[in-house]
């Protein structure tokens, strides 16, 4: 799936995790380490599939589970108005 992070969402990384701010809504969100890696991958490539390879390289997780969780994470970002599927 192709995903595009909204331009008005800012990320601030802290010790491998991150804080997000949506300038549009004024809401803050937190990302854990996996979410932060996935987020940064989405920004760089716009791809959810290849994000899986990146997290598998860093965490003890199977590819199948990683893909399921990354896809669910992407859905959650879109539902929260932080990103859009393109």
């Amino acid at each position: 799936m192709k995903i595009q992070i909204r331009r008005d969402v800012l990320l601030q990384e802290v010790s491998g995790e991150a804080v997000l701010l949506s300038l549009g809504t004024g809401r803050y969100y937190g990302l854990n380490a996996v979410g932060t890696i996935a987020w940064k991958h989405f920004i760089d490539t716009g791809e959810t599939q290849s994000a899986c390879s990146e997290v598998v390289a860093h965490f003890a997780v199977s590819e199948e589970q990683a893909q399921r969780d990354i896809d669910a994470f992407a859905q959650e970002l879109v539902a929260s108005g932080l990103a859009e599927f393109v």
Partner: protein, 392 residues
Amino acid sequence: MPVSTVLSILRHTVDPASFVFCARLCSLSECLDVAVHHQVLGLVGPRLLETESDESNARKTLTSHLRYYASHALAMVAELTLLAKVFNSARVRWTSYKGPVLAKRLYGDFASRHSVDLDVLIHPDDLVQCWETLHTLGYEPLYKIDRRVHDLFCQNAYEAVWVHRQRRVTLDVHWAIAARSLPFGLSLASPELFSETIEIGGIEVPMLSPVANALALSIHGSKHGWQKLLWIADIARLVRNHPEADWSLLAANAKRVGALRMVQLGLRLAWGLFNIPPPNDPLLRTTDSTVHLLTLLALDPILARRTSPSFPMFLTCLPNNRLRRDALAQHFWRPTPLDLEAIPLPSRLQFTYPLIRMGRVAIKHVFHLEGRPWTRPRLADSPVPMSTDATS
């Protein structure tokens, strides 16, 4: 030892090509203390967390600081983008000044330069419009300046503090970077302070150009005795990141406004502490013995964590005695916002302000009859609430 450790990490942050030597024997809590004092915790904190230490309390404090810096920086950026929209629609000419925008430009990270306040620079002709705009946004001025002394306030002061109590923002509104009676009291009306824009969250936010920033930061650092490593790191990073900038313009502008020694001092400190040589311009590289002396005077308090004699150093930076007299007059005779708020005189009596000012200074310094030490009132910091965790 902790200063050396912090400096070593900071050097690597400013120039990743430099080697980091971290003394493992150094106390993390002492390093934390030094980093906070020099306002560089945002820059060295992540690296400090990576060092081996069994000081669990210090680690918790450090992590907590960094998390707070991250949230606070985003909150300040949000406020800045709101101000950008409002100022633009009200046709207030402005630019962001220092703060998270400079942090993003220099270090790629909004939280790398933590400051409690948000700073903006407003064109001096748009001040009234700016005040009205801030009122509509819910800001209040920290000093309640009576309308009888408002014009005098705008002439003598060059910044005013506004606070937004609900959003917990302290906004420093500058209309010059130093006293306007001095030639380096530059404003957005000055050709030396040209700006460009940076895109933040889809919004164009104006900021000073690298050369204008180097000039403004040098003046600011020299006014305050270069007491903070952050100010020197900023100069080093500006020079390192912008080899393409027209640094000869910096030299020419600085010389024209009487700030050349300030710029030379900042560059020399950046060279000495961060190994970033000055740009290749004869004026910027040539220094006189006064600048050498000032460099030593600035370095010693930094490394020994003492207070530097900032005002005498600042006077020494000035190119001639006429400017020194003007700076002294500005410091000792011109009424401050506190003077104007406390004693708002009608225009026919405002000529007495120098006497009032000298009297207040005398009471404070000569007769030691000051009350409690004055500290500028500040809103208490409050962590920004975190809402949804976007991961499952």
